[in-house]
Symmetry: C2
Subunit: 142 residues, 2 copies
DNA sequence: TATTGTTATACTCTATAACTATA
DNA sequence: TATAGTTATAGAGTATAACAATA
C-alpha cells in the first residue's frame, strides 16, 4: 500500500465538502441539515417519542426541539400527544413533508452523481460498497 | 445504483469514528489531533510564518497558538524569530518532534489497517484510490 | 501605514441542569 | 417517584476584534 494521507484526514476533508455541497441544495427546500435528517428518520417509520427520534439520529433530545418546531410550523410533520400517554408526542411526516423530503433527496442525489462522476467508472461501485461497509461498522471501531 | 444512505451521512459517520479511533493512539504520544496535524504539516517542509502554517492546515491563526506553545514546551518544534524579519517565526520540527510524529503515524496506520481489514480485499485499493481522488478535489465541489 | 503574532471578546454548537406536565 | 418534553444555563470549539511589536 503506497504512501497516502491518513484515512481520517481524507474522510474529514471529503465529509466537510459534501456537507457544504448539501447546504445550498437543502436551502432550496427551506431545510437545514438537521431538519433534513429528521425528515429522513421519520420517513422510515413514525416514532412515538422525541427522545426515540433524537436517539435514532444521534442527537441530544434538547437539540431537535427547535427543529421540530420549525417543521411543524411549516406543516411538514405531525406532532400530537399520544392519547394513551399524553407525555409522549407521536411524530410522523405529513404528505407535504414526504414531498419535501423526496424533492430534497433527489437534489442531493443529483449533486452526489456529479461528485461520483469524478471517479474512474470502475472505482465507483467498490467505493460505495466500502463506504457503506465502514460507515455501518463505524460506531464500534476497530 | 441501488438505494443507499446519502454520501455525506456515510462519510460523516465514518469520519467521526476514525477521529475517535485516532484519539487514544495520539494520546499515547501525548498529542492532540491539532498537535498531530501541525507536526505533519511541519514535517513536510519548515514554514516561515504561523499564518502560513494555519493556512496550510485550514485553521485560524489564533487557534494554533496554544498548540504551538505546547509543542515548543515539549521540545517537539523550533519556533524562532526570523532574523531577517523579526515579526515572523521560523517553524520546524526538532529531531524529537520528527520521532514523535513518526511513532504516532505508525500507530495510526496500524489502527487503519485493522479498519481496512474489514473490507473485501478487492475493494481496498479502489476505495483508497477513490477517497484520495475525492478528498483532493474536495475544496471545490460542484 | 502594513504585517505578524498575541490576547480578549463574541459567537455557534452542543450538552447538562432545572422545570413543567403527565403518569 | 418516574418519565417526556421544554427551557435555562454552562461548556467546548471556533472566529472576530483589538492590541503590541516590528517593518
Amino acid at each position: 500500500m503506497r504512501d497516502r494521507p491518513d484515512l481520517a484526514a481524507m474522510t474529514e476533508t471529503l465529509s466537510r465538502a459534501l456537507v457544504e455541497a448539501e447546504r445550498p441544495v437543502l436551502a432550496e427546500h427551506g431545510l437545514t441539515m438537521w431538519a433534513y435528517v429528521v425528515l429522513l428518520a421519520l420517513g422510515d417509520r413514525p416514532l412515538r417519542t422525541q427522545a426515540a427520534l433524537a436517539e435514532s439520529i444521534g442527537a441530544d433530545k434538547t437539540r431537535i426541539i427547535a427543529v421540530l418546531d420549525g417543521l411543524q410550523g411549516r406543516g411538514l410533520i405531525d406532532r400530537v400527544p399520544d392519547p394513551g400517554d399524553r407525555r409522549a408526542r407521536l411524530l410522523s411526516l405529513t404528505p407535504e413533508g414526504r414531498r419535501v423530503r423526496d424533492a430534497a433527496r433527489r437534489g442531493i442525489r443529483a449533486m452526489e452523481e456529479r461528485v461520483l462522476a469524478r471517479l474512474a467508472e470502475e472505482d465507483r461501485e467498490p467505493f460505495l460498497r466500502a463506504l457503506r461497509t465502514l460507515s455501518a461498522l463505524a460506531p464500534g471501531f476497530p
